[in-house]
Amino acid sequence: MLDLSKYQSIGEALRDALDRYSNEVCLIEADRQCEKERLTYGDFKERAHPLSKGLQDGGFSAGARASIIMTNQPKWLISAYAIFFSGGVLVPLDYKLTPDEQWQLLKHSSATVLITEYPIWRQLSISAGRAAATSVQTVLVTEAPANADLAGARRWEEHRGTGEPVFIARERRDTACIVYSSGTGGRPKGCMMTHENYLEQCVALTSLYPFWPGVRYLSILPTNHAIDFMVGFFGPFTCGATVVHLRTLRPEYVREAFPKYKITYVSLVPLVLKNLQKGLQARFDALPPGKRKVFNALVRINKALTKSQPRLGISRRLLKQVHEAFGGELRAIIVGGAFTEPQTLQFFYDLGIPVANGYGLTEAGTAITVNDLKPFRADTVGKPLPGMEVRIVNPAVDGVGEVSVCSKTIMAGYLNEPELTAETIVDGWLLTGDLGRFDGAGHLQLTGRKKNMIVTEEGKNIYPEDIEAVFESLSVKEFCVFAANYIWPKPSNTGEKLVLVLHPEPGQQYSEELRLDINARNNRLLNYKRVHGVVLLDEDFPRTASLKIKRNVLAERLAKLDSAAAILPL
């Protein structure tokens, strides 16, 4: 691995990695049964440098912002490297957002360059939101068919300069990426992540979960997500490892990829991990009684032998068929993005597959705590990573309080939001809005959430304010969206739901017509952003002098209602 303490920027570290590991395989791209491409670090450099030169010839320079909206594939990483090499700031956006949401964030970030895939561009180019994002001057589109109408974009494959590009140095404190942790509504939260944030996070994570040449990481989580950016790009690249991309995420092809490419690590969101558990459990249950008995006995033996630490060699021999289905070389499943239920974590550990369960948020540079497997604990999110100071603010008698963190991995702030930044980072400590406590062994246990938001099992952060626009002009006196757990706290971070609070006009009933209107509007939202139920409140919402809803005061009033009776299903 490169000694990252010697580097100033992501671009500088990656530049050296491409030379140092020149003959190692860095990327494998597969599409269904076919392997499309296999690149060495040397090949990667040959692809990236002409693009970098093309960007520089087009006037792209230090501090300029370029966005990538792509599915996981080699051109994502090649483009990102070309941006960093040229001293640019990367704005990675979620390809699953709607085109209008993507344009909103492009506008907010002031990106001048957009790099995207043709199918995504087809939608983006005809979206009304395009007119607002005037900063975007250059659009590069990958894989466009020969006769495609590019609607003002250029072909990524042809955007290359001749001659060597100039490496543009950046300092550790400079912004490397603007990562949107949420917010496509009123208040986008663009986390300004510095080069130092990434360099330090990479050192901390790889100290527990190392990469080396020969390691193969299966990249499934979107690369714009903080986790995949770190463990599916920067981490493996600085160690000479290989990243495997799949162009389809159909479960059958994902399953095939494990044995086919002998995967070492994979990152999953809890929802996928739980589905994997269900699938495996169904197969175990279908075993004939005799075989099932033997299998269960082997699991019990494995459990006893791995109580204090994982023993991959033993587990792979004891539970051979299970491990062979995963390719036989899987060292750990990294899970993140949302809270994972302990029984799911334990299920995999008992099979001899450690799950690197942790806790983090984009604002803190990916991970704050991770299970160090010494021993494995399913009931906590692990201990703070090296270099992270974590403390509980204003703990109650039971030790529970707000989790705060201080480290070199904490973002510089939210883009264009000095007040929000000052509320979130106080005296160098990031207030996470999550509630938790430390146990006697120094493990962090999360117990709920203090902030008005939900995190889905797919790892999506949803802020109620961001989805209120869809209910504008609803025929009620006033309305507001809340995270149900913000009003009625519960000691868990799973199964979180949003509710729509309605204050009807005087004498107005909650009619079928109104319910249908709410349903129709709700269905316009992506499925994971939808409200779960309606709460009726027959009183004026408390408001500030500037007529903004005082959400905390309103939540206190709503908390007096019985949640089970108050939430009307849609």
């Binding site: 269904r32 599915t71 162009r247 389809t248 995420l249 159909r250 479960p251 797919e458 499925n527």
Partner: protein, 80 residues
């Protein structure tokens, strides 16, 4: 050659069969996340079944953001 209506009906029938629902219980405008109570992964599994039936390949990006059977059937029909 199938008409769009026929394709839509076949999609509805296959989805009903896949999720073990009575025939005729699904409508073209139904939101499959809501009606079937499924997540995005289960949707991908359903797509594989539809691909096999129609003998086509439906890239993941074609179904990005699609949540009702009618739109899904249109995307399939355009590839027949």
């Amino acid at each position: 050659m199938r008409t769009l209506d026929q394709t839509t009906q076949e999609v509805l029938d296959l989805a009903a069969e896949h999720f073990q629902l009575p025939e005729g219980s699904l409508e073209p405008r139904d939101d499959f996340f809501k009606k079937l109570g499924i997540d995005s992964l289960q949707t991908l599994e359903m797509l594989s079944r539809l691909e096999n039936h129609f003998g086509i390949e439906l890239p993941d990006y074609e179904v990005q953001g699609v949540s009702d059977f009618k739109t899904l059937a249109e995307r399939i029909h355009s590839r027949l």
